[in-house]
Structure formats: structure tokens, C-alpha cells
């Protein structure tokens, strides 16, 4: 079966004051029907840019797809007309954002905002859209949906607002849901609820999910496959359990060892948390022909600084872009 979404050799350039920088450099990925994948990486690694490029929402005049292709269900999105993209957005591919506190329009009730999407994409009438909005609020487990449908966003908590965002995103039963750090702004118990909700809804609707996160726990919770991004490039890709138990890229192992574990038995001895030293390079350093992670890498060698490591496949599902991947 053909993949639902296929990104090939994608290169996204951002115009900065210092010149043009490739925020996404030669990215390849595939997403199957009903699959859930995660993009992982620090801030500034191009995770959100990839998501925006898929939505056709790169910042106008600043970002553009320089080369490569994004195919959704066999349809090329990079060359699609704005009109076609608008039909797809919110209907077949939809997105939820990081900040539920500011992602809803403060002057409309949540019901109006959900109904609006249904009217625009499904051609529902006022009444039908409203009824459907109540059903959706019920589906995202907002208590007492009949009266909450008339609430304004400021009358809801962060977790509830994110539920409303999910309701809006799923209103038209999209084929792909992109969740850009959907739980970063929420507290832990609410995070777990949101993940539960997303998992349930995915099981019901068969929507593919692209999760963008830097939370390894969320990845393990939500996805089958993960793509580790670093400085606009794919560092590693593979099934979540395999990658977490045996990382093939030093950046991945660095990220994993940053995550604290809750131990079953508290002992005197605690795991040391190791950080990944250094920071993500600035945009101006992107695109050089070397391993961009090398300055922070414990295994860096001369080779790493002289040529960009290719994406080497391991087995059928995994790949890693590291000169030392074999030894890891």
C-alpha cells in the first residue's frame, strides 16, 4: 500500500539577515495509513518547520520549499494551488498547536469555532454544525458539553482548551493529525489525559498522527516510529522500542540519557542524568558538508568534520546518519 504521506529530499530555506539557511536539509520520510510517528529533537532542529511545510504554512516571504517533494495520498503539495491547500488544511490534514491558551480565538465561543470548520469544509448548515460541535466536545470528553459549547475560551482551563483544539482538528476526520508539542504547556496529569484521548481517538478514527515533541516519554507513549532530527537533518529513524533500547546515533543516546527515570525502588544510588553538552548550532552554520553534531559529540573524529554522514539503513526499518553508527 502506498504511504499516506511521502516526503522526499525536502529542503526548506529560510531567508535570514545573514543569508539563506537550509532549516530542513534533505529530509526523507514516509507515513503509512493509521500510523503514528514522532519527530524528536531540541528546539531549533526544524521539527515544526517540517510540520508547517506539510501544511503549506511556511512563513510567507521568509521560508520556502527550495527542492524536494511532499506527497499526500499521491498528490504533490509543494506545487498545489493555495485554494487546494486550503481545502486540505483542516479537512484532510489538521494541526494542533503547542499553546492551548492562545490557540483559540477569544471573541468566539468554542462551539462557534468548531462549527465554523464544519461549515467551511463539510458544508454543514448552522444547526447541523452546532449539533456536531456538541458531539465533538463530548468525544473529547469535556463534561457537560451542551452548556460548555457556549463557553468562551477564557472560561476554560488549559487542558480543556487543548481538548477543544483537538475537537476542532478532528472535526472533519482528517487523515493526518499533526500535533506540535500538544502537551508542553500542560501539567503532567493533564498531559496523560490528553495522550489517552489522542490514543483513543486514533483508535476510533484511524487518523495518522505526526507528533512533534522533545519528550521521550511522550514518544514511547504515543508512537510506533520516531525520527530524531538535529539541525535540520534526520539523525536517526526507526521503531520506537528499538531506537530507545539501542540508539544508533550519539545524539539519540544523548537525548535518551537526559530523561530521568522513576525507579521502582528508591535506592541511595541514583542514576546520573547526563546532558548533551553544547547547543544546537545557529542557522548560519546549517548546510555545511560535515556532521553538524560533531562539536557536541563524544565520538567525533576527523571524518565527521570533513563530510556529511549519509543516511545508512540498518535492517528494514531503521536508519542513522552517523559515521560511527556501526560501532554504536
Amino acid at each position: 500500500m502506498a504511504p499516506l504521506l511521502k516526503v522526499e529530499n525536502l529542503r526548506i530555506e529560510l531567508a535570514t539577515r545573514a543569508g539563506v539557511a537550509p532549516v530542513i536539509d534533505n529530509l526523507n520520510l514516509e507515513l503509512a495509513h493509521g500510523e503514528s510517528i514522532s519527530f524528536v529533537g531540541e528546539s531549533g532542529c526544524g521539527k515544526s518547520m517540517t510540520a508547517l511545510a506539510i501544511m503549506g504554512l511556511l512563513p510567507e516571504g521568509i521560508g520556502r520549499v527550495a527542492s524536494g517533494s511532499i506527497q499526500f495520498d499521491g498528490e504533490e503539495l509543494t506545487t498545489a494551488s493555495p485554494r487546494r491547500l486550503r481545502q486540505i488544511r483542516g479537512n484532510e490534514i489538521s494541526m494542533i498547536f503547542q499553546e492551548p491558551m492562545t490557540s483559540l480565538n477569544p471573541v468566539y465561543t468554542v462551539g462557534e469555532q468548531i462549527a465554523e470548520v464544519l461549515r467551511a469544509h463539510q458544508g454543514l448548515g448552522q444547526k447541523a454544525a452546532w449539533a456536531q460541535a456538541i458531539e465533538l466536545l463530548d468525544a473529547v470528553q469535556i463534561p457537560n458539553p451542551k452548556s460548555r459549547v457556549e463557553a468562551y475560551p477564557f472560561q476554560m482551563s488549559g487542558g480543556q482548551r487543548q481538548r477543544v483544539m483537538i475537537a476542532i482538528a478532528l472535526a472533519c476526520t482528517p487523515k493526518i493529525l499533526i500535533a506540535d508539542e500538544p502537551t508542553t504547556a500542560l501539567d503532567v496529569t493533564v498531559q496523560a489525559q490528553i495522550f489517552d484521548l489522542l490514543r483513543d481517538l486514533r483508535a476510533q478514527t484511524g487518523t495518522s498522527i505526526i507528533m512533534i515533541t522533545h519528550d521521550m516519554g511522550a514518544v514511547a507513549e504515543m508512537s510506533e516510529r520516531m525520527i530524531v532530527m538535529y539541525a535540520g537533518r534526520k539523525a536517526e529513524e526507526g521503531p520506537v522500542d528499538q531506537v530507545i533500547t539501542h540508539a544508533r546515533h550519539p545524539y539519540t543516546s544523548g537525548l535518551i540519557s537526559c530523561v530521568p527515570h522513576i525507579m521502582a525502588n528508591l535506592t541511595e544510588e541514583r542514576h546520573d542524568l547526563t546532558e548533551v553538552p553544547g547547543i544546537v548550532p545557529g542557522l548560519s552554520e546549517f548546510g555545511q558538508d560535515l556532521c553538524l553534531f560533531a562539536p557536541r559529540c563524544p565520538r567525533a573524529s576527523d571524518k565527521c568534520l570533513s563530510a556529511r554522514p549519509p543516511d545508512v539503513p540498518f535492517g528494514s526499518a531503521r536508519s542513522s546518519a552517523c559515521w560511527h553508527a556501526e560501532d554504536l
Partner: protein, 292 residues
Amino acid sequence: MSEQTVDAPVARARSPLSEAWEMFRHNHSAMLGLALLSLIVLAAILGPMLYQTDPFDMVWAPFSPPGEEGFLLGTDYLGRDLLSQILHGARVTLIIGLSAAIVTVVIGVTVGALAGFYGGIIEEMLMRFTEFFQVLPTLLFSMVIVALFGASLPMITFAIGIVSWTAVARITRSEFQRVRELEYVMASRASGATNAKLMFQVILPNALPPIIVQSALMVGSAILFEAGLSFLGLTDPNVVSWGQIIGSNRQYILEAGFTVTIPGLAIFITVLAISLVGDGLNDALNPKLRKR
């Protein structure tokens, strides 16, 4: 939490607008302004029906002082009833003020919204265009328009509107620039909203408060503007407006001051009332001043 099926009434949702009204209601000066304004509007609507003396009829000797001979506000230099003139003039004055403000808002919001939303070359061009209008001396420019195209009511309204939309355009643009970057605009874009929808349904309602305030104050300044033009004689001779009463009686200001003072006071009170309401709106619609 999801199992909750409590049907207890959730505190009824209050729209931002009803909350603003709550704020406004507790603002004494704003309520005073609103009361005055309602009185004036009522007088403008009902006055000419209840008090049927024709404002153009010579009913008595000129310069009869207020209160004498049964004329509450006296008569003007042609012996016309001043009360009737004020009542009829109120209609014209308010209509000019309101419609000039509408012209202002329509042009200003359109230009400002396009400039603020699209940015880039469109913004550059529209803002230069706005600045072109800003540097023209407003009174002179409107006089030229009225002198060239005739002193009819629509032309006077248009002349006032065309010289005063720039403030609204600049406010609208800056609000659009601010709101455009907010996350819910991106979220609407991500759910497939067209540019028109983004501009007028998503951004505009959030940009509205300062525009509403500015437009309210615009009504006041349009009335003053009209008075200024009429004072200079640039007015439709077939209708009465307050400025026109002042203008036509101005030669007799020393002999019969009341003929100028009374319409002057009417203008003063009206513009004051509008300003009070405008300030009240500003307080009520400005979320930073809103008490929770």
C-alpha cells in the same frame, strides 16, 4: 473527570461584549455622556415632529431675545425661530457626524486591514497613500472639495470623511500587525480559512476595540468639522445645521450674541457627550483596564 455528568448549571457564559457593558455601566462620566447623547438623539428624532414651526419661516422680528414673545430660544437675524432651527439642525448635524464617521471607518479599516494583513509591498503602497492624505491640510482640502463639487450634504459628508480616515487606517494597521502574529490566527489558517475570512472574521473582531473608540471620537470631530465648514459658508443652504446657524449669524455676534451662543452650546454639549462615551468605551474595551 470524564465521567462527570453533573448537570449543575455552569455559570452562564458572558460574551466579552456584555462584560464591556458592565464596565461601561459603572463609569459615571461615560453614563452621563450616554444620557446626554440619548437626549440629543431623541430631540433630533422627535423634536421636529412635536415642534412644527418651519425653521425657514420668518415668524417674528429679528433678534428677539430668548424667552420673549413665546420663542423659547428667540429669533435670528431674519426673524426665524431659533428653537426650531436647533431641533432641525440637530438631525442634520448628527447625520453628517455619523455618516462622515462611517465613511472614515469604511475607508480607514479597509486600507488599514489590507496593509496590516498583507504587509510587504502592499503595505508600503497603502501607507504612502495614507501619508499623502495625512500631510494635506485637512480643512483646506475639504474646502476645495466642497467648493469644486458643490455644497450638498453628501458631498460635505464625503469631504469630511476623505480627510479624516487616516487615523483609523493607522490604528487598524497596527492592530492587524499585532493580531496577525497571534497563535489563533495561525490555528485558523491551519484549519483552512481563506484570507478574507482571516481578515474580517478572525482578526478584525480582535482588532475592533481601539477602532470603535476612534470611530466614536470621529463622530465628534466630524460634527466640529462640519461646523467649521458651515461657519465659512460652505454648507447646503437648503438645510439647517448648527454650524450654519452660527455662520449666518456671525455678523451680528455683538448685537445678538445668543444667536451664536446657543447653537455653539449645542455643538459643545453634543461633542462633549460623544467624547465621554468614547472615553468610556476606551476604558470598557481595553482589556488592560478591565477589572476581573
